[in-house]
């Protein structure tokens, strides 16, 4: 394995030991498994940059030139038989990633590439990893000897290519289906973190590769300036499109971050039923149950049986926080009671829910301030609370996780917490199972 900085500027000889030029760059193709080097680029005697297929390279050797050892590239053909080409617009060069910022998917941050590690993988010469950090920086500056004096802290910091997401795709990368979109593997909250370190063009670039669900969750989890970058750069129609298919409370969250004029514009363009739901949420006082509640919840009519309820749950397959408490409502949606999953499973299938349910339901009103909600959740050991309006009509639910996010001190939210993750390592296309 060799670093690109060690190769650049080295002499290229043909099979008769005649000089072709000095190595300037390498063309590679970022595929599903490998980032294979397809051509070498050299500067010929007329100072032009020319490229030739990598298959012409016979070996990389260390030779004695003058009084120092140096790497040279030996080709397997004589000069006369070699036809060089010019570099094309959509050729991707190693030099294109050097000194640029890329996303480290594993570390979930943006880093700057100081050097590129090349090596043989399954008989192909490929881009294996990028080097970031101080050691590679010193090597680029020719000060590698300095690192031998300093302590272990100045270690080589290498990021495998499969964990690197580039930020400046070129024309041919429009075939994104072939090349894996690695950022999409991250949790939306982590994507939001990464976006913080990018310039606004790069943020929009990443945002546009996300699907609807990811896009919304990323937006909600992002810091205000990231949100602003995205809003300023995507069209109103795209926002409307995104907002129409998500729960009204999430849409309201997003809209509350935008300027009133824009919100008006967007609400006008949305379908009436979506916009009226959103509008009613926006009208709740800030930091009240109404403003933070989740408007998608599970409720069953009071004439349902236990079996019908279980069938409904199977059909919807709700998330974990919503499955434990199922609310019972009358035909006008007034809150009548609450069912526990335990009660449902242990009752006889034909029992009416009105007989299983607990009629005294601990609940909050849409106007209840968030501190009171937090106190109720703590006091009654709940992890979800139903929210009703003044006429006792069920409007939404507040989960412990919702309220935690709201009452947490703002600067706690800023420090990125890195949980220890069990990572799946992909080697040569074979997936290894995660360690237990």
């Amino acid at each position: 394995m060799v670093f690109f900085s060690e190769l650049k500027g080295r002499l290229v000889y043909d099979s008769n030991k005649k000089t072709l030029g000095s190595l300037n760059d390498l063309v590679f193709v970022d595929g599903e498994k490998y980032a294979e080097i397809t051509h070498i680029v050299y500067i010929d005697e007329n100072k032009y940059r020319k490229k030739i297929p990598f298959s012409l390279v016979n070996e990389l050797k260390e030779e004695k030139i003058a009084n120092s050892h140096s790497l040279v590239l030996n080709l397997n053909q004589p000069k006369e038989k070699i036809i060089p080409f010019f570099i094309k617009e959509d050729d991707v060069l190693v030099g294109d990633i050097l000194d640029k910022q890329v996303v480290d998917i594993d570390g979930i941050k943006v880093v700057r590439v100081n050097d590129v590690l090349l090596g043989k993988v399954d008989r192909n010469f490929c881009v294996v990893a990028v080097a970031v950090g101080t050691h590679s920086l010193l090597r680029r500056l020719g000060l590698e000897k300095v690192t031998k004096i300093s302590p272990k802290s100045v270690r080589e910091h290498i990021i495998p290519w499969e964990s690197v997401e580039r930020l400046e795709p070129k024309l041919h990368d429009l075939h994104l289906k072939i090349q894996k979109n690695k950022i999409a593997d991250l949790h939306p909250e982590d994507i939001a973190d990464v976006m913080e370190d990018l310039s606004f063009n790069e943020r929009v670039l990443i945002f546009n590769t996300l699907n609807k669900q990811q896009a919304i969750r990323t937006l909600i989890g992002a810091e205000p300036d990231v949100q602003n970058s995205v809003f300023k750069n995507i069209k109103v129609d795209r926002v409307v499109n995104l907002l129409e298919d998500i729960p009204a409370d999430q849409a309201a969250d997003i809209l509350s971050m935008m300027s009133p004029a824009k919100v008006k514009d967007i609400l006008l363009k949305m379908r009436l039923e979506s916009s009226s739901k959103v509008k009613s949420i926006l009208n709740y006082p800030e930091e009240s149950a109404g403003a933070i509640m989740d408007t998608s919840f599970i409720s069953v009519p009071d004439f349902y049986t236990a079996q019908e309820t279980i069938d409904l749950l199977r059909k919807i397959a709700p998330s974990s926080e919503k499955i434990y408490h199922i609310y019972v409502v009358d035909n006008q949606n007034h809150l009548q009671g609450v069912l526990s999953i335990r009660g449902l499973l242990t009752a006889l299938p034909e029992t009416k829910v009105s007989d299983i349910m607990k009629k005294e339901v601990i609940h909050v009103k849409t106007s209840t301030p968030q501190e009171d909600i937090a106190k109720a959740i703590a006091k009654y050991d709940l992890f979800v609370l139903p929210v009703v309006n003044d006429e006792n009509i069920l409007r939404g639910i507040v989960t412990a996780d919702n309220i935690l996010t709201e009452i947490m001190p703002k600067d706690w939210r800023r420090h990125k917490y890195m949980p220890h993750k069990i990572k799946k390592k992909r080697r040569n296309g074979i997936q290894q199972t995660p360690k237990a």
């Binding site: 050097l98 000194d99 640029k100 910022q101 941050k109 880093v111 700057r112 100081n114 970031v132 950090g133 920086l137 680029r140 500056l141 310039s199 606004f200 063009n201 790069e202 300036d225 602003n228 970058s229 300023k232 750069n233 509350s256 800030e286 600067d411 800023r414 420090h415």
Partner: protein
């Protein structure tokens, strides 16, 4: 939503917010430009040379506008900071040299800010051994605990104090005839001190660190390329503000100090320039203005420098990061401040001389940064269709060349003359 409610309740607050919200990067940069280095350099220029150096303000203004506009345009089009762009386009080695230069220049600039603190507090009779360490602690608190936006607004509010120079200059009844002549027939001397002064004026008005700062400020404001006209207006207003204040400081000092042959050895000597306006309170007004300007700049400078170096070399940076996460950032920021403070605390350190020479170093670094900017801003791959026009390139290149020549004229003679003596 909450802030909007508060504003609706209080109309006076609404007016203030409106005013402050339209303050753009150009205006803010323009105000920060009038720091301890600026006030001192302009004061000395006026005191020593009277109106003779006023003509330098015109080319300086033109260069300032062109350079700031380039930065604003680069920020708008690429969305990237200047440090980022330099690293991406010129590779590690050149970036390394530019940033070593920037660190040295900024240690000098930070020393200047602390010199300003020391000098202004000496007016109140406080020794520099007390005022400087206390100011350093205040700066540290501002950086770690303070809210930048609020600090910025407070500082801008106090920079209104600089308007007192305008009043002073007028009340001092300067010879407007002479001023006019100074512009129409500029005087050019080739002695070391005059040249240094010219470089100092250029260096303090167009400090390289300000270029990085300005571009970041533009990006922070997230102005779209469609709003370019507003950004340009903001830049021009900022530059006009800087140069107008510079003009009046020079005139005020010329009319009060120069005519009476008063030499500026310490900050309090410069305060005399405000006597026509403030009478007996002149020294206090001056000291106060100088102190605020110095503390604020002493906060931004090391921070900004550390930030840009980290940006260029890929180190983690930011005050919201913990110490072990952003080791290089904190180390840089702290060392710049410490070295600057040590320089100032050396017994009998000539504060005024240090100040002027740190601005000269700025002017020496400027051609290098300017050249890299010009090359990038003319590159279609980076700027698309928003490359420079012929006028901008002409100004850019001629400035670079002239600054290099002036620097050479300043530096080379002292180096060569001992050798010339050998041939006699």
């Amino acid at each position: 939503m909450k802030l909007i409610d508060k504003i609706k309740e209080n109309p006076r607050l609404a007016g203030l917010i409106m005013f402050l919200s339209i303050l753009g990067p150009g205006i803010i940069t323009g105000s920060v430009d009038n720091d301890a280095g600026g006030i001192t350099t302009y004061s000395v220029a006026g005191a020593v040379y009277g109106y003779k150096l006023l003509w330098t303000l015109i080319p300086t203004f033109i260069i300032l506008v062109v350079v700031q506009e380039m930065n604003a345009r680069m920020g708008l089009v690429t969305g990237k900071g200047l440090a980022d762009l330099i690293r991406e386009n010129f590779g590690v080695r050149i970036t390394f040299f530019i940033f070593v230069g920037l660190i040295i220049a900024d240690i000098g600039n930070t020393a200047t800010e602390f010199a300003g603190v020391a000098g202004s507090m000496m007016v109140f009779g406080i020794s520099k051994y007390i005022s400087v360490p206390l100011a350093a602690i205040a700066v540290w608190i501002l950086v770690v605990k303070g809210d930048y936006k609020i600090t910025e607004k407070i500082f801008l509010f106090f920079s209104i104090c600089l308007l007192s120079y305008i009043v002073s200059a007028v009340l001092a009844k300067p010879d407007w005839h002479q001023i006019g002549n100074a512009f129409l027939s500029p005087a050019m001397h080739f002695d070391k001190d005059y040249l240094a002064m010219i470089l100092g004026i250029v260096g303090t008005t167009i400090a390289p660190w300000m270029q990085f700062y300005m571009q970041s400020a533009v990006i922070e404001k997230r102005i779209k390329i469609g709003e370019y006209k507003f950004a340009l207006l903001d830049v021009i207003i900022g530059c006009v503000a800087t140069v107008v204040v510079a003009f009046f400081i020079i005139v005020a000092c010329a009319a009060t100090l120069h005519v009476n042959g008063i030499v500026i050895n310490e900050a309090k000597d410069a305060a005399v320039a405000l006597k026509p306006f403030a009478g007996a309170f002149a020294s206090y007004v001056f000291a106060f203005a100088l102190f605020i300007a110095s503390v604020f700049s002493a906060t931004i400078l090391p921070l900004a420098t550390a930030f840009y170096v980290c940006e260029a070399f890929g180190f983690e940076a930011g005050i919201n990061k913990k110490l072990h996460e952003a080791l290089q950032f904190y180390a840089l920021f702290t060392s710049i401040m410490l070295i600057a403070i040590v320089i100032i605390l050396i017994p009998n350190a000539p504060l005024i001389t240090i100040t002027i020479w740190s601005q000269v170093i700025n002017a020496m670094l400027l051609p290098v940064v300017l050249m890299s900017m010009i090359l990038m801003v003319n590159n279609k791959k980076i700027m698309g269709k928003y490359v420079n026009n012929k006028f901008q390139n002409a100004v850019g290149w001629s400035t670079t060349v002239i600054l290099i020549i002036l620097t050479a004229m300043l530096i080379i003679p002292p180096i060569i003359s001992p050798f010339l003596g050998l041939f006699k």
